[in-house]
Symmetry: C2
Subunit: 220 residues, 2 copies
DNA sequence: TCAAAAGTGTTCGTTATACACCCATGT
DNA sequence: ACATGGGTGTATAACGAACACTTTTGA
């Protein structure tokens, strides 16, 4: 079946930058391209928007189809549409950003059998299209979101922590997300002031050193 | 001539929210729609992206074609693509924001003879499509940009001032753009700290009251 | 007793906000 | 003289950044 228009139309895709922390390092979820163009390269998951779905809905659908990741809130980053960014036809993409806990994620083999894998942000492969540019913008937005205020995105940072966590564990998570080291005392002041920490009056045990106090978070 | 695709493609447009200050009040540039849908309604200027131009270039072209406004830096706001937002076909639009001095602008009759007019932001007509939503987002972004730091957008605020201006005139401009009243002393501290003001050692004359000192700005 | 991680306060600079009175000029 | 807009300073609160030593435990 063919679709005909009086004027040329670009294709519109959504690309979703899914970040996670794995073994203490920031990772991003990429898929391997099995078909041309960029066959064999890695790319941000994404795909074509359907005619009857909102952009963000299409983004969520493509994400789930290609990686199995579902149910995460997506934040729009912006539209990217340089002519020539896709060699096949004019493609305009709307990019999204999200943060998920990768451990509980089961990466399903994508429907079109391409591979989905987590990559350390410091060991990225060559990316298809202009995905290097998009990913750099997304990285900046992620750090920005988590840095200051108490947003939905920032809440998801706690998904990388067990229900009972130490402040050192929390600090490591935020350092990874922000991409910089933080001062221990300042971080503790910040987390106490901005989040509803519950002192569980318990201590870690079995560690080699001084036990640490355990906390949990109540979201308002 | 017809364009045929294997899969359906949305149309992609750019819509540009052009703000200005006229007689001390924030205005936005709208065009009257002469054709259906929304024939007779007012709308944010914009139009279809060509296949060989970047989105922002297409936005600038459409803006000039429809309103005569050219040479202004456009900042991307985001993509809007709810199904049904255009009753004809699926249309995804990328919205932009800019701030221009309207006095030097000559509003050319648009190429398709539709009318272009400035509207007071407090006296908006009913808008076509979802342009009310886009315009509200754009208004918030404008205030945000001008509020804090010294950005390109903030620089354009000085276009609403003569080369030699008084601090009261400057305050009025920033109050309009930010949508709130400012404290005189605090504003003077802020502008002195954030901009390179040159005291011209001149005073206004001909006013009915005390003459005011005149300044100019050097951009760094 | 030592190594390693936990824990803890203060200072300073910047920024935003609130607030009230005198000054210079034209009429 | 008075009406009108021009012009000025201080105090407080919130925030971010810098910075070093003591405590507790297991080995």
């Amino acid at each position: 079946m063919a679709y005909t228009y009086e004027y040329p139309h670009p294709a519109v895709t959504a690309d979703i930058c899914i970040f996670s922390i794995r073994e203490g390092r920031l990772h991003v979820l990429l898929i391997e391209r099995l078909a041309d163009p960029f066959q064999g390269s890695w790319a941000i998951p994404g795909g074509f928007i359907k005619m009857d779905e909102d952009i963000v809905v299409g983004a969520a659908r493509e994400l789930e189809e290609e990686t199995g990741v579902a149910g995460v809130p997506l934040e729009q980053l912006g539209a990217y549409g340089m002519p020539g960014r896709d060699p096949r036809e004019r493609v305009i993409t709307v990019a999204f950003v999200a943060l998920v806990p990768s451990d509980q994620m089961v990466l399903t083999a994508a429907t079109d059998a391409s591979d989905a894998r987590w990559f350390d942000m410091d060991e990225l492969p060559v990316l298809a299209f202009d995905h290097d540019v998009i990913l750099a913008d997304a990285r900046a937005k992620l750090a920005d979101k988590v840095t200051n205020r108490v947003t939905e995105t920032a809440k998801s940072a706690f998904q990388f922590l067990p229900k009972k966590f130490t402040l050192a564990q929390a600090q490591a998570v935020f350092e990874t997300l922000r991409g910089e080291e933080l001062d221990k005392r300042n971080f503790r002041k910040w987390i106490a002031a901005n989040w509803d920490l519950v002192d569980l009056k318990e201590k870690t045990s079995g560690g080699r050193h001084r036990p640490a106090a355990l906390y949990s978070v109540d979201f308002v």
